[in-house]
Amino acid sequence: MPNTTNILVCGIGGQGVMTATEILSEAAIAEGHDVKKTEVAGMSQRGGVVTSHLRFGPKVLSPQIAPGTADVLLGFEAAEALRWSHYLKPGAMALVNDARLVPPVVELGLFKYPDDPIGEMKSRGVRTVSFDAATIARDLGDLRLGNTVMLGAIADQLPFSAEVLLDCIVKRFARKGEQVVEMNRKAFAAGREAAQAAVPA
């Protein structure tokens, strides 16, 4: 459908992929869009691959993003971002947390984890921005802020202002008190900054 924005979020079970997409959905709804959000999760709670598809616009039909049509890819893990990069349309951007989460089948020596998944994305022509969300979150004092850092990173790639997304995050954390809200504001700003600093010229 024309006028539909396709955002693909990927990672592994337990990283917060679904929650991040839920907040992105809320922002799109706040902007008056029709929204569909779908997960391909399987048994993701057991460390499997998880992708979350978000589509929004005046009227969304099919909930799935077709390969080659995503406007943005938000990757919570380096190899997972590479795995789903063929979903991007030409010129679209991937924002990637450079964490490497290596599964048991690799540790057992049955498969190989790529040496440099982000470098591979770049060499395949994907506009890729990477950053270390965990370190940013830890420097702010709480590893759990990583999810908000990720949302900050994608904030400038959306067809609405970053403030709309930030408002949804603030609403979500409001009942946890002003201090938690403030930490999340900082994490959001840090994620934005990290992505902006890493954007290739």
Binding site: E22, T38, R46, H86, P103
Partner: protein, 627 residues
């Protein structure tokens, strides 16, 4: 789950199909809701348990859940049950007879087909059951329709006194979309009316009900041509016309926005006149359905010339990127070449390692599978649950998985069917607590009664793990988390005929005990049941222990800890050395991710150089004796 205030009427909410159905069931004044957890259906009952003013239960299996709903319907109450596709096989027995008695209070059966098989042992098309049982089936295409059709299903059920199947697929259950919700309307039960000819299905009575059932089906067929649920959308692109239902409709509309489409909401019985009208609109008629060529076959039998699974995939989900090129190719045979599909930044998916689901760190099943993988001469019948993952790396410890509870009967059959080649094999069955209560108990009774020689591992982790940790009779809580009678497994299996001395309750974190118990019991020519007693790590009963670390200077790279299969253990360096004997040995030096480790201590036990110790601040390394 605790009850919460439902969102007010007229709210526009972002809801999954499962959430939307639950809201509609509550608004319909439904009194009784029952189900058994199963992906992708689980959240319906889970959500319903958060609503006030209705009774919800996790039943022990789907058959019982439907029977509970039937009983409530007989009292004139609205009743609902939800299950995954394979659950309807279990519930097929009551379904095939309740279609004869019919419903009194609205009786709605939601069945969720795992199209694409994200978490199931097979892919099946529940629409067959509508034909089999001569009942109507509704197929929503998104969350709003799931809500609307669930509400309508109760009215339809009462108007025609018929059980109604609401067919969802994973792509309805787990897709969130905006839904406008309404008010709850009370629906007090009318009361039970004694009527043996209707409710007591003995042959003489049933024979009189069959013509009524068939007449009802004819009435529903007439309804199908009138109902606004079956919409004929004329279009300007008359190259091809589509008949479709469920989420496939969205893919059709996305791919061919201007084509004529007959969208079936009430997909059985299907509307003959509307199909005939559609057939007039284009030369090529295509049926787009998930999974089987069911409607296609019926339309062909009715004399329509249609395409369908002759060119569309018969396995898995449809999607615009599957549908559009396939239809264009079909049309190309008849007309000019079509333009190439849009290309993304990469032509194909990059080749990468797989990331299969695996057991969690400290999972109480892990020690079981590590033990089984270290023992020789075993043949192991597996079952359905998280522990099915024991079939994967590094354990490779299951030899069969069929369906819920099948490990029992399959193991007995292996024992009775073994020939000379297998006479020294030890036959085992592995089953979880919830699966055992679902359908395993009868199998165990069959083993004891028929004097089988099987060693059973009953892995009691106190929850339905794979579907997200629902309560079971094994943890003493009901669906709302309220205290409930707790089943006593040792006494239960003893009552089912297992000798008291052949029943062992053991700690699955204690490898030597586990190893010895399994080895000893498999040597004895009798039925043994070994019950484990640690909770699933994803439920509140689990309390994490102090994490472990690998002392780098002590690690010899033996790799024993990697063979345990814990996702918290990572290889930092590999090496290959030649031993004095001339044999080449691969070494894997490891570390433990202390954030992921919850300290079960399994990896400590096989560690040859005792290099794994409790995590402690620098200078305070505390050695740990293997448990």
């Amino acid at each position: 789950m605790a009850a919460v205030m439902p969102a007010p009427a007229a709210s526009r909410l972002l809801m999954s199909g499962n959430e939307a159905v639950s809201r509609a069931v509550w608004e319909s004044g439904t009194k009784v809701c029952a189900g058994y957890p199963g992906t992708p259906a689980t959240e319906m009952l889970e959500q319903l348990s958060t609503y006030p003013d209705l009774y919800t239960e996790w039943s022990v299996n789907e058959k019982v859940s439907l029977e509970v709903a039937i009983g409530a319907s007989m009292m004139g109450a609205r009743a609902f049950c939800a299950m995954k596709h394979v659950g309807l096989n279990v519930a097929a027995d009551p379904l095939m007879t309740v279609t004869l008695t019919g419903a009194e209070g609205g009786l709605v059966i939601a069945v969720a087909d795992d199209v694409g098989m994200s978490s199931s042992q097979n892919e099946q098309d529940s629409r067959f059951y509508a034909r089999f049982a001569h009942v109507p089936i509704l197929e929503p295409a998104d969350s709003q329709e799931a809500y609307d059709m669930a509400r309508y299903a109760f009215e339809l059920s009462e108007e025609y006194q018929v059980p109604v199947i609401l067919r969802l697929t994973a792509r309805i259950c787990h897709v969130k979309g905006l839904v406008k919700v309404g008010e709850r309307v009370a629906h007090p039960p009318k009361g039970f009316t004694k009527n043996a000819e209707r409710w007591v299905m003995v042959p003489g009575h049933a024979k009189r009900r069959i013509p009524l059932m068939l007449a009802r089906e004819q009435e529903l067929k007439r309804l199908s041509d009138k109902t606004p649920l079956n919409v004929l959308e004329p279009g300007s692109d008359r190259r091809v016309a589509f008949v479709t239902s469920g989420p496939a409709y969205m893919h059709v509309r996305e791919s061919f926005p201007d084509a004529p489409v007959l969208k079936l909401g009430l997909s059985y019985p299907w509307p003959l006149e509307k199909v005939a009208a559609l057939a007039e609109m284009a030369d090529t008629l295509v049926v787009v359905e998930e999974v089987e060529p069911l409607l296609e076959t019926e339309l062909k039998a009715a004399g329509f010339s249609v395409h369908g699974k002759d060119f569309l995939p018969r396995i898995g989900e449809l999607a615009p990127e599957v549908l559009a090129p396939a239809v264009e190719k079909l049309l190309r045979k008849e007309s000019a070449p079509a333009p190439e599909a849009a290309q993304g930044v990469l032509a194909n998916a990059p080749p990468l390692f797989p990331r299969p689901p695996t057991l969690c760190a400290s999972c109480p099943h892990m020690g079981i599978y590590y033990t089984l993988s270290q023992l020789k001469n075993l043949t192991i019948a597996g079952d359905i649950g998280c522990y099915t993952l024991g079939a994967g790396h590094p354990w490779n410890s299951l030899d069969s998985t069929i369906c819920m509870g099948a490990s029992m009967g399959v193991a007995l059959g292996m024992d009775k069917g073994r020939g000379e080649a297998d006479k020294n094999k030890k036959i085992l069955a592995v089953i979880g607590d919830s699966t055992f209560m679902h359908m395993g108990m009868q199998g165990l009774l069959d083993i004891t009664w028929n004097r089988g020689n099987v060693t059973i591992l009953l892995l009691d982790n106190g929850t339905v793990g794979m579907t997200g940790g629902q309560n079971t009779p094994a943890n003493g809580r009901d669906i709302r988390g309220q205290s409930a009678p707790r089943i006593d497994f040792p006494r239960l299996v003893e009552a089912l005929g297992v000798k008291k001395e052949r029943i062992h309750v053991i700690d699955p974190y204690q490898l030597p005990v586990l190893f010895k118990t399994v080895r000893d019991e498999t040597k004895i020519d009798d039925v043994s049941v070994i019950i484990t007693n640690r909770p699933c790590v994803l439920i509140e009963e689990f309390k994490p222990f102090r994490p472990y670390v690998v002392q780098e200077e002590k690690c010899t790279g033996c790799g024993n800890c990697v063979e345990v299969g814990c996702p918290a253990i990572h290889v930092t360096r590999r090496d290959r050395v030649v031993k004095a004997s001339g044999k080449e040995v691969d070494l894997a030096f490891t570390r433990i991710d202390s954030v992921a480790c919850t300290g079960c201590g399994l990896c400590v036990q096989p560690c040859a150089p005792e290099a794994i110790v409790h995590f402690a601040p620098a200078g305070q390394v505390i050695p740990v004796v293997p448990a």
